[in-house]
Subunit: 467 residues, 2 copies
């Protein structure tokens, strides 16, 4: 059965050829002469893709639960987004791209307030817009360093010293601060030089790239099913928090901030409990270190809440929350006015985001609200989790460490033959992604429904019974 939200979706997957088929292969061969195609997963025809289905030039239509690495929010060729893309506002934003920090448009306040700020996490009412997840995190880091040094200096009114001004130009202290960002092992925060220094996912992401000597704490390695490992897991979380505390107190470059993903998404779908995150908030408060929650992959509804950290019941909000992917634009939220640096042009760049993408996010938010898609994702996620739980009982070796209960459709499990699993999925009409070394990660769109869950589960059973 096709989408009940929009008409036009296939009833079920269509697999006509191997993937890539002959037509796709022709395009790939041409493309490879000018563009690296070695990481190519599937060549797509987006003019023919619709809703939850990605279509390729050979006419294959796969149920897409990878969704452009978790970044398509409400389906391919969504009619509401077509309308937004054709609007005069969008045309204007595409062709008259401003340098937002210098020359914002007269309606930029409105675009922000009726869009990106309408869904701002509780307690955070300001936004710095960026281009993608990496620079969203890096600008948040910059804000943290400037905030921390300003505190150490004695407040916003204290001028920089001559020595700071001069040494900064030589990349030396005290002008260049000797501070750090603390991140977690197996975490992922981007691939530019600052964000990559906090990324600890896989060597292939990091090899040969110079890095800052910043600290990393062990992320709790929870055992599944959770209810059978309550004590062990609580100890793993306590140990992790103790390590964080130790690093905050002792690392030779003191952390200005701790960054954490609600669910480590590239690193293998590693979860921790709300209590762990509350503990992290307490610790960072205690030592006056900022807490940055990286919601680049978890944000915008996929976990059954608009922001994954809404699950935690924090006593005080995070200091900054970064976003990208399903938001189709990027940046970070903050609340504390001290996170605006003391002078202009300290946190600045030419474009500072893209109004066209901000308009698109606004249209996405409107549609998510109109159709209650966060609630939909919570409900369908529970249904899907139950079905996979049953599969895991039947095929315990093929579906290990099922996780993501109560986290919407943000569900994963380990497969001993993960890469084969993902490759075979296409033969059975489903596009699925992996994370970490052994995880199969499910990242459906917010318009994923029970009937899609049924198709997915059926395909997954076919995969594991086919070998």
């Amino acid at each position: 059965m096709a989408s009940t939200f929009y008409s036009g979706e296939p009833e079920s997957p269509i697999v006509k050829t191997d993937i890539p088929g002959p037509k796709a292969q022709e395009h790939i061969t041409k493309l490879d002469t000018v563009f690296d195609t070695r990481s190519l997963n599937m060549l797509a025809d987006y003019t023919k893709s619709f809703g939850n289905y990605i279509v390729d030039p050979d006419g294959n239509a796969l149920l897409d639960v990878y969704a452009q690495i978790a970044s398509i929010p409400i389906g391919y060729n969504n009619p509401a987004l077509v309308k937004a893309a054709q609007s005069p506002d969008m045309v204007n934003a595409i062709i008259n791209r401003p340098a937002l920090g210098n020359f914002p448009s007269h309606d930029w306040d409105q675009v922000l307030e009726t869009g990106v700020l309408k869904v701002a996490p509780k307690g955070l009412n300001q936004v710095f817009t960026a281009m993608a997840g990496s620079d969203a995190n890096e600008t948040a880091y910059k804000a943290a360093f400037m905030w921390r040094r300003q505190k150490e200096r004695g407040g916003p009114a204290v001028e920089f010293t001559k020595e700071e001004l001069e040494s900064s130009m030589n990349n030396q202290a005290p002008g260049a601060s000797e501070l750090s960002i603390l991140s977690f092992k197996t975490g992922f925060h981007g691939r530019l030089f600052g964000s990559l220094s906090t990324t600890r996912s896989k060597p292939i992401h990091k090899l040969d790239i110079p890095a800052f000597d910043w600290p990393q704490a062990t992320f709790p390695q929870l055992k599944y099913p959770l209810e059978e490992h309550v004590e062990e897991n609580a100890k793993a979380e306590a140990d992790s928090l103790a390590e964080v505390e130790h690093l905050i107190k002792n690392w030779h470059l003191p952390p200005a901030a701790v960054i954490v993903e609600p669910i480590q998404s590239e690193g293998g779908d590693n979860h921790a409990s709300p209590a762990f995150f509350r503990g992290l908030r307490e610790l960072t408060k205690k030592y006056d270190v900022l807490l940055i929650v990286d919601e680049v992959q978890t944000g915008v509804g996929a976990t059954g809440k608009f922001w994954a950290h809404d699950h935690w019941d924090l006593p005080t909000p995070p200091d900054m929350v970064t976003f990208s992917k399903k938001a189709q634009t990027a940046g970070y939220y903050f609340g504390n006015p001290e996170l605006r640096p003391n002078k202009p042009y300290r946190q600045f760049n030419t474009w500072m985001g893209d109004p066209a993408r901000a308009l698109l996010f606004r249209a996405i938010i409107d549609e998510v609200e109109r159709l209650n898609l966060v609630e939909n994702t919570a409900k369908v996620g529970d249904y899907l989790y139950g079905k996979i739980e049953a599969l895991a009982k039947k095929y315990p070796n093929d579906f290990q460490n099922l996780r993501g209960k109560g986290q919407g459709t943000f569900i994963a499990f380990d497969s001993p033959k993960r890469d084969q699993f993902l490759a075979k999925a296409k033969k059975f009409g489903v596009n699925i992604g992996g994370s970490g070394a052994t995880a199969v990660r499910l990242r459906p769109m917010l318009i994923f429904e029970k009937q899609h869950a049924d198709i997915l589960v059926e395909a997954m059973e076919k995969i594991v019974t086919s070998w």
Copy 2:
């Protein structure tokens, strides 16, 4: 007189109120509650701006020779771009944003070949697409580090050692390389952590942000007029090259690449001769260090050539050329297949650019070719330079160190009262930007014509006679 390329432009500037006027001020006050407005230069109404004129909510229409920090190529609300923005391709690209490295569209090869690659610098036939100038440079740096370490390791087939794999995860050598990027003093290459380590423009750009201990060479400080300082200037360039050679041979973190702007644009419009850049190409070749030319601000026609380094008559092309701003998309060009890392997923991120912006660049290129706008810019630039040269004779104190002869409209001069000069310009109907400490930088669009030059020169004379 209005644009001869497109109808709809004002005949001349219109200044009705102070800037910001009452309506703009109302928007600014609102915007400031959620978005830092301290670097705001002028609030604009882009729905009413056209061609070379930026219009604000109070009805002021300024001749814009700053052009969103040199990033508007062919005018506000350009009719050809309106058409491109309304095309089904564009709508598709906006709403179905792919993870380009994994799921490129069937026509991505065509989009590249009929667009961004059509204007690829001589000798460079491949492209890595990015989002903005900073990440264009940083991904180029990453390519340089991977290339260099691969060479040291003994080629693409040599596997990483266990020690490399493990140490990379701890941000330590040998996995994290102890290499550097050499840049020039007063250069600007972006504001993320890697690019900021190569940026040497102003302390305000760098203060408090941790930086890599990378080397910087003195950029030649040419004296003007050039013809009166031939020997001194030649010596300054020779000294700079000697310093580069010394740093390449001796810096404790060996440079994998040298990055240079054809004209240091944020750092004060500092020029060097083609001979200097040929020398730099020879030196980098001699020591097997890559040469990255940062054409983020100089690229796409403003200097009277499509790429500013086309002025140099290089014996061999640069290894990489980065672009952004007027291209409205970003990335780096390269030719050497060895600059594709030896394994997939080493140079990768979710979006890897934005097809919507690539389509826009294609439309810009078509229009630049159709109207011969590079030639136009060369011609108008010569005309404008002559007029300012005459002004500088008349007001030698107010127009010092005029530079950019034969470089299209990429013209600058020093003003002892620079900030006042820029502020006053608005009163006389012109929007102008500065660079460095004392430079007035002119960055007209490619559709800037003689009649606009006359308006600009008249306004500049009014400014300096008004105090």
